[in-house]
């Protein structure tokens, strides 16, 4: 009864109600199929593990992962490692986006500077930032600093390139408009160019969520004494692949939550922006 009510909620007429019902039924169908698929994969994994079709030593099995999560939750260590990685990722994400945007602003401020830096940006962008790891460790030590630096390095240049690109895409007539009032370049930037680029800055945020997770996990592979990346390396070294699988699941979960948070932020900020 309640479901039937929900299906036609907000209907303005019978016909509209039928339309809403069809729309919502379709939504439910998608969601149900997604859940069924997940359950099916888990069962298939579990069953094939039990009957020896896949090697549990390598692929582990859902019940073992679940048991490990319970164990680690009981002694609190899972929270500890997740917390450390999460904090590193959020800091890396924020700093990478912030510095990338600031660098884009600096470049925009001087067209000459922009032309000078252009080839450097291209090279830095195509270079695998992970290769900088040894330099971070030598200069910043084997602590959180190196890990965060890795996340920043990975997100920074692509942020700069995308954000600077969006600065340049602003319709020059807007600049003409502000210039008719004698606006300085900085005024035009603050009043028009920066707010006009907010959508692309936010879309780089979404990309940067993924990139900072890569940076932090790689960073933890290299130096960490704690964190989910550390658990993966540790699990691998002691051949506890259940631990590796568990860490992987937690990372996917946390990254998804973070991505959704950014998507929510985007929705809030873009409410009144339509052209």
């Amino acid at each position: 009864m309640k479901i039937a009510d929900w299906l036609t909620k907000g209907a303005q007429s019978e016909e509209h109600g039928r339309y809403l019902k069809a729309l919502r039924l379709e939504q439910l169908k998608v969601l149900a199929t997604q859940i069924v698929l997940l359950v099916f994969l888990l069962i298939a994994w579990e069953v094939s593990a039990r009957y020896g079709i896949v090697d549990t030593f390598i692929f582990s099995q859902p019940t073992r992962v679940w048991q490990l999560i319970l164990e680690r939750a009981a002694d609190g260590s899972i929270y500890h490692h997740t917390w450390i990685t999460l904090v590193e990722t959020i800091i890396g994400f924020c700093l990478g986006t912030l510095f990338g945007t600031l660098l884009a602003i600096l470049i925009w401020a001087s067209p000459f500077f922009a032309r000078v830096l252009d080839p450097y940006l291209v090279v830095l962008n195509s270079m695998p930032k992970v290769a900088l790891g040894p330099f971070f460790i030598v200069t910043l030590g084997t602590g959180h600093l190196s890990i965060i630096a890795m996340a920043v390095a990975i997100a920074l240049i692509i942020t700069t390139i995308v954000v600077y690109g969006s600065f340049q895409e602003v319709d020059p007539n807007y600049l003409k408009l502000t210039q008719t009032w004698g606006a300085t370049r900085w005024q035009s930037f603050r009043k028009v160019v920066l707010p006009a680029s907010v959508p692309s800055i936010i879309s780089t945020l979404k990309v940067n969520v993924g990139l900072s997770w890569v940076g932090v996990i790689v960073g933890e592979f290299l130096v960490a004494k704690a964190g989910l990346g550390y658990l993966i390396i540790y699990g691998f070294q002691v051949f506890n692949l259940t631990l590796v699988m568990t860490s992987l699941l937690i990372i996917s979960l946390a990254a998804t939550v973070m991505y959704q948070a950014v998507a929510f932020l985007e929705k809030k900020l873009m409410q009144n922006r339509r052209i």
Binding site: D171, N173, Y174, K176, L177, T178, Q179, T180, W181, G182, A183, Q187, K191, V192, P195, A196, V198, N272, R273, R274, I275
Partner: protein, 259 residues
């Protein structure tokens, strides 16, 4: 400050130098506009009309000659000149109220008094109830009216209108012509209109300058008699003399198109 001539152009030329050579956008242009007058510039595309407006607005200096606004040499944008573009270019992330204050913010003249004046102008345009709306919620004609308020809010004495009605549908355009014309008359503004629409030029102005291109030069000046220019643009289209002047303008342009 009180100078009978609002705009004076003496032998003004503007050349663009590029890798492939030098182009004269406008060459040897002389024109004067009395305070309170409404003049139009018509001519084929690429005859430098928009360049001329930008020069008067002080967006860039002329390559030769001299431009004076109320007797003062133009050396950059001044608050005495307002500019209206082909499209409204309202900022989509600001509501209407915030949009009309943009010029005041940039010129650092936003205070209680100027803000009230801007709102008064918005009311005059019949848009006060839309002040909290966003541009995408308004029609094209309403948006261009908001753009007019934004331009007038900084209280310029001279308005440069760069085909401000060309992106609108015909009915909206006629209505807006009347509104702009009466608003400018009421506030005693001087106006320079660039347009492709010959009937708009005849209906709105006291004088029409016909340009030819390559390089942009004034070829003919047509004075529109008071019998037409004193009426509103819509009403003036109905009087017999209108057709005569439209025809004259048409022929003048035709001659230069063919060359």
């Amino acid at each position: 400050m009180t100078h009978a001539l609002a705009i004076e152009l003496k032998d003004v030329s503007k050349k663009y130098i590029t890798k492939t050579g030098i182009n004269y956008a406008v060459d040897n242009v002389n024109l004067t506009v009395e305070a309170g007058a409404f003049i139009s510039l018509v001519g084929p595309s690429g005859c430098g009309k928009t360049t001329l407006l930008s020069l008067i607005a002080g967006l860039f200096p002329p390559s030769g000659g001299e431009i004076r606004i109320f007797g003062q040499k133009v050396e950059g944008p001044t608050s005495q000149v307002g500019y209206m573009l082909q499209q409204d270019y309202l900022l989509p992330w600001r509501n209407i109220y915030q949009n009309i204050l943009l010029g005041l913010e940039i010129t650092h003249t936003l205070n209680r008094e100027t803000e009230e004046h801007a709102l008064y102008l918005l009311e005059e345009m019949g848009l006060i109830d839309y002040r909290l709306h966003y541009p995408h919620q308004l029609s094209g004609g309403m948006r261009q009216r908001v753009a007019l308020v934004r331009t007038l809010a900084t209280e310029p004495d001279i308005l440069l209108l760069d085909e401000p009605f060309s992106a609108l549908d015909y009915q909206t355009k006629l209505r807006l012509e009347d509104l702009v014309s009466s608003t400018l008359k009421k506030h005693a503004k001087t106006a320079v209109l660039v347009t492709h629409d010959l009937s708009e030029a005849v209906a709105m102005s006291d004088r029409v300058y016909v340009f030819s291109r390559n390089p942009g030069r004034i070829n003919t000046v047509i004075e529109i008699p008071p019998v037409i220019s004193e009426k509103t643009p819509l009403a003036s289209r109905n009087i017999p003399e209108f057709q005569t002047y439209f025809q004259r303008l048409w022929e003048e342009l035709d001659v230069y198109e063919d060359r």
